[in-house]
Symmetry: C2
Subunit: 148 residues, 2 copies
């Protein structure tokens, strides 16, 4: 399985626009369109990616650097509703961690994400790659951290 990340550009953003969240995940994760709108305002500290299986965009994820902590945050990771259950999320997350390990925006070994506590598959995925709860909870969103 060749899961890779490609930067969102003029050439592939329409594919990201067309990705579909699974109905029951819509309350947990922002759609890539909304995420890219945020990427505009944080454009000097973030990198949005299409998640590819070979040549097909099957999902989306954004990495953003928080200069204040500093830390790397993973935002809005999603796999298209028709492409779930094939391990793409886990492979994509490995690629994201490899990308962060190159320290594209600055120093920090701290990688943080949040996950809705009802998003059981999400939590299972993040824990399987070594993310642990920080204890911070914002409404239903649990914060998880991994040190590289």
């Amino acid at each position: 399985m060749a899961v890779t990340l490609k930067c969102i550009t003029e050439d592939n953003f329409l594919e990201a626009f067309r990705l579909k969240l699974r109905k029951d995940q819509e309350e947990f994760v922002s759609h890539p369109i909304r995420s890219l709108a945020q990427a505009y305002v944080y454009r000097n500290q973030c990198q949005p990616f299409g998640i590819y299986q070979d040549e097909e965009m099957v999902g989306y994820v954004m990495v953003i650097y928080d200069y204040d902590v500093p830390e790397y945050d993973i935002w809005h990771m999603m796999i298209d509703e028709t492409r779930q259950g094939r391990g793409y999320g886990k492979e994509a997350l490995k690629r994201v961690l490899e990308y962060i390990a190159t320290k594209p925006f600055g120093e920090s070994n701290r990688v943080v994400l949040t996950c809705n506590q009802q998003n059981i598959p999400g939590l299972r995925l993040y824990r399987s790659l070594g993310f642990q709860e920080t204890g911070n909870v914002d409404e239903d969103e649990i914060e998880l951290v991994k040190m590289l």
Copy 2:
């Protein structure tokens, strides 16, 4: 009436996210969230603005420079559904033309926009400020041009 443009930034993008298109205008104009997602990929050649009446964001518009022609294009201008019929659109368009006259991205006196041919108030507005049909039509979208 003090209608001004302010760049979309970290400080005001959530207000832009909350702007509402009038139901019958949804088919004619992209929502600011979708527009800002496009602004991400065209970030080096565009400037999205909030349209303000005093301190309140009442609408949205994006200016994008087409290096190939070259020309300035006006995209996705909208006024919130609750703030229409007060002349904000016309004042905002004047501010947009003043901004373009400063040639923020490069030379060109050519300003182009498109408007759905069923969007009668839109067409009236653009014509009132000197925009004229180029004759190019893409499906229902009429192209209009004004030379500064």
